[in-house]
Subunit: 346 residues, 2 copies
């Protein structure tokens, strides 16, 4: 087996870079984790709902880390207009993110029914923007965090058929059903997969706040389906870390545990661990670097003068990432991983 591989910098098609102090802490970790593209989620307070907000946010991020390409998104609310979609596309905003109401961090402005947004989706199709779906139905007396993704899949199928030229990503797939559904949709649909969902199951987060996220990690069978899809070489599945930092005190010691796993700073090491165990390091670059760029039609983005070299050499995940002000606990803190990364000249 190879003990090192050199790949195009990763493209992380689902990141949370937050705002203020937390933004300043985690934005530099995009490169640290091995990525040159960060596809930025808009669930700030207040949510990023206009082109102007997105562009201002992008400038803030670029000021912190000029060597990462930040791809921006809008948060879908009832206030989003067709005009704003066109304006956003013209300004270079890449996608629109849909949060069902109340399912995860800062999703209270989210949607509960999709039909009112058909004109928006049609406009996005026209201007070639991507629709990013948090694929869970809102909480109800009869569903649960276990079934919320499963119950959303008919909506995905329906939207994919109604808007056959609209590129749609089912974000952070967590179930075998989700993988199968993406496979059965047309070429306009892809699924992003996080690094941590390749590692964990419900047992991991049951007693560990730092493994709790939405959608929750599910059964060993579901995890096996995610791993299989990730290493399969199927271009419809690619990396989107959903790295979702929270200050430590919101994860542990809080009355309610904030949803989100922070993987940004060691992203490629987490992912390589799985590919290596599967004997599929030959599929690694496609999953983390190529397939996402291809789906998003940004194949030349963030692939300049540098590459990322992964070497099989044990590293220990930091117990915390901090800047003297805030502490964020990374996934698998203090545990050992087998692949280290470094940036090298292309």
């Amino acid at each position: 087996m190879a003990t090192s591989i050199t790949i195009l910098p990763a493209a992380d098609f689902h990141v949370h870079l937050r705002q203020d102090a937390l933004m300043r802490l985690v934005t530099p970790t995009v490169r640290q984790g091995g990525a040159s593209i960060a596809y930025v989620m808009p669930n700030l307070t207040p949510p990023i709902t206009t082109t102007e907000m997105a562009m201002n946010y992008k400038k803030e991020l670029q000021a912190i880390e000029p060597n990462v390409e930040f791809m921006m998104t809008l948060y879908l609310t009832a206030d989003l207009t067709v005009e704003e979609v066109k304006k956003a596309a013209a300004a270079g905003v890449s996608g629109v993110k849909v949060y069902p109401a109340g399912v995860t961090t800062n999703s209270s402005a989210g949607v509960s029914t999709y039909e009112p947004f058909y004109p928006i989706f049609a406009a996005m199709e026209e201007v070639n923007m991507v629709l990013n779906l948090h694929g869970e139905v809102p909480p109800s007396p009869t569903n649960s965090v276990l079934t919320a993704e499963h119950d959303f899949l008919p909506t995905l199928i329906d939207l994919a058929k109604r808007f056959p030229k609209l590129r749609i990503v089912l974000e952070h797939c967590t179930t075998k059903d989700a993988i199968e559904t993406v496979k059965n949709c047309g070429p306009n649909v892809a699924g992003s997969i996080t690094a941590h969902h390749l590692h964990i199951t419900i047992d991991s987060w049951a007693d560990n706040p730092f493994c709790y996220c939405k959608p929750v990690a599910k059964t060993p069978e579901d995890r096996a389906a995610l791993i299989e899809a990730a290493v399969s070489g199927d271009p419809r599945f690619f990396l989107g870390s959903d790295s979702a930092p929270h200050p430590r005190e919101k994860k542990s010691g809080a009355a309610r545990i904030a949803a989100g796993v922070f993987t940004q700073s060691r992203l490629l090491s987490y992912a390589a661990e799985i590919f290596d165990k599967q004997g599929k390091m030959d599929k690694f670059e496609d999953f983390v670097s190529n397939f996402g760029r291809k789906f998003y039609q940004v194949e030349g983005l963030g692939v300049g003068t540098e590459k990322v070299k992964l070497t099989k050499k044990p590293i220990k995940v930091e117990s915390e990432v901090w800047d003297g002000e805030l502490v964020v606990v990374p996934f698998m803190a203090t545990e050992e991983l087998q692949w280290d990364i470094e940036w090298v000249k292309a």
Copy 2:
């Protein structure tokens, strides 16, 4: 609808009274919650494995609370002998508790296969002791906290058939399958149900450490089956609170969340809430007081000169139960419940 009912004191057929400071804090809450019988779990450090240990523990508990009947159990380990079982029965120990290895608090001494214990079970049958099963299979790469109880049920069925005169309790049923399995077993099998599993589902504990216990609360459908069994008037189902206190710092802010929900201090109020909502307060006394006593053949125990009166009158659950040294956070802390209790003359 009645706004008050007066019942025989409850019999709580599954309690964790711990040891040392925690024991001193929670033992008085048995009566506070409305129970005059506490069926005491043996998972201390070290586990209660001999008659002498059980009797000493009982004395400690009686010294703290002379007005509760403490029924004692032994922890099944490979060291338990047929002679010890007979000695225990003669001394008044009521049952033997089986913990599968590694599934919950202080279960590292637990069992992973049942066949070696057949002689013990046969001896228990002979001396009329009760077998209390924590009905979960140990963790494995293919199961999860969701399926651990389901996967255990064939063992229950098998044991019930092999030892048809051995009374067996499937403790803290959490699934529809468990309820169905108990119903399909012979009259030697019963199922205990906690108060909190009548309230919560997986969504409740996903982000709330104080709702996390083993077996974990499962789906809305499972909860509905538990409620139906509890209010049904079927004598095979009765109250066993599995009230499992931990100091607050082991539940929130710990690297791993300790499993256990503390319900002892407001036990009947939690349970009455559910029966009332179902319009089944007429079945309440049977579930909390009568059916358990009948199965355990202790119908005259703890039913002396007092009764418990429940009155429909809003109360607020304490934010914490403490003694100046330890803090335990009760289930539904700071929330409102509709039924208050008081002890009255019979």
